[in-house]
């Protein structure tokens, strides 16, 4: 139920939003202090395979809850209403084509068992992979090699675009866009290749936690596969 005071005065919600943002930033700082970006990325990649091929819907839903919790603790922005409505859309779309036993009818809408289970499975998979990615891909992740150096350079230019102080007005859009490109391109060079990265020392807790998550995902996969056996 909405708080009548904040509903009447939208500005009253601002301190709450600020507090939430600060809390998220603190969680992100703790998370980044615990996990190295590559450890997380490797764990995320491994876990995503186990999750994707999980045949049991209840186990997949349980893993989804685990990954949602990890994504929340990582300080990434998580919108539960968006997750709910996207999932609802996926399930509804799958129900449009009736497959399997009829569970119930409501006018022209026929809810069938196979279509419902497939829709739920696809929705959980879709959203679960998003939360695995949110938890395991950090902005500090550096991709190695020549390709990685181009991506890193693109991020340097991206920062310049964000910091650009000029304006893009509709009347002079093309000239303004051109000025932006020239300003970003001709800005003084900043080191982007081979620059010594600050590598904070992290204890073994991050590696242990990442390994535990991957182990849970694969244990669930094994259980799911055994579950299907006669």
């Amino acid at each position: 139920m909405p708080d009548p005071t904040t509903a009447a005065d939208p500005s009253a919600r601002a301190p709450r939003r600020d507090a939430a943002r600060l809390a998220r930033a603190a969680r992100a700082a703790r998370y980044d202090a615990m996990f190295a970006p590559w450890t997380l990325a490797a764990a995320g990649l491994l876990a995503s395979f186990a999750f994707l091929f999980q045949p049991s819907l209840p186990l997949k839903a349980a893993l989804f809850a685990v990954f949602l919790g990890v994504a929340l603790s990582s300080g990434k922005k998580v919108s539960l209403p968006a997750t709910f409505f996207v999932s609802l859309g996926i399930v509804a779309a799958n129900l449009l084509v009736p497959v399997g036993k009829v569970l119930w009818r409501a006018g022209p809408l026929v809810v069938t068992e196979t279509a419902l289970l497939e829709g739920l499975d696809k929705a959980v998979t879709f959203e679960g992979l998003i939360y695995i990615s949110k938890a395991s891909i950090r902005p500090g992740l550096r991709i190695p090699g020549r390709f990685g150096s181009i991506v890193a350079r693109a991020f340097v230019y991206y920062d310049r675009i964000i910091e650009y102080r000029g304006r893009l007005k509709p009347a002079t859009l093309f000239a303004d866009a051109d000025a932006l490109m020239l300003a970003v391109w001709d800005a003084p060079e900043t080191p982007f290749v081979g620059a010594p990265e600050s590598r904070p020392k992290r204890g073994p807790a991050g590696c242990v936690a990442a390994f535990a998550l991957v182990a849970i995902a694969y244990a669930a996969l094994a259980a799911g596969l055994l579950w299907r056996l006669p």
């Binding site: 990325a41 859309g89 696809k122 998003i130 991506v151 675009i161 051109d178 391109w185 001709d186």
Partner: protein, 201 residues
């Protein structure tokens, strides 16, 4: 955008150096393709961030404005660098949004690569007979079509066909608008002329 741009040559480098402000990296040397690729990749990230703020019914249903730098690159970069730009866009955007291991990255990869290849093929096959609007519309519709196919396989099932007309229609409209912008920008932009190695910069 209808003209084909000559590959940068040593003779073209001199005017470009003269046009660049003194002390800038471009004044010190000829811009290499990695540099142009990185800058266009950065604009893909920026436009993607803008697109992220536009409400959409599903996370992967995008207008495609982040493909604008790829459209511009069709005249600036050879095919290998052009494909590198497409990959930089997908990987960078996935890292920024934290969706690298999700279906969203898969949709983005498929849509971007198909759009890039179709735009490149249309540009090379059509030559002067096809403008930026045509190239852009073909790329946008191809990108949306492949995303609908993927949506049918991994998310929606046959119901994906129900959203196909709207999604393809969106591709037509945004593709045409992006093509118009790219054509005008390529004609008037000093940066574009410098990146293409044209002496009138």
């Amino acid at each position: 955008m209808t003209r084909s741009t000559p590959a940068p040559t040593e003779s073209a480098a001199a005017p470009r150096q003269a046009a660049a402000p003194q002390g800038s990296p471009r004044a010190r040397g000829r811009p290499d393709r990695a540099d142009v690729t990185a800058l266009l990749g950065a604009f893909c990230f920026f436009l993607s961030a803008i697109e992220y703020m536009i409400p959409k019914p599903l996370p992967f249903m995008r207008l495609g404005i982040a493909n604008l730098p790829i459209l511009l690159a069709a005249d600036l970069l050879p095919l290998p660098w052009f494909l590198v730009l497409a990959l930089v866009k997908v990987v960078g955007m996935s890292v920024i949004s934290g969706s690298l291991f999700s279906y969203i990255a898969l949709f983005s990869l498929a849509g971007t690569l198909v759009a890039a290849l179709v735009m490149w093929g249309a540009k090379r096959a059509g030559g002067r007979r096809i403008g930026a609007v045509g190239v852009s519309v073909l790329g946008a519709v191809a990108s949306n079509a492949v995303q609908i196919l993927l949506a049918e396989v991994v998310v929606f099932g046959q119901a994906a066909r129900l959203i196909a007309p709207v999604f393809l229609g969106m591709g037509l409209v945004t593709g045409a608008l992006l093509g118009l912008f790219a054509e005008r920008f390529a004609e008037t932009s000093k940066w574009y002329a410098r990146a293409a190695g044209r002496p009138d910069a």
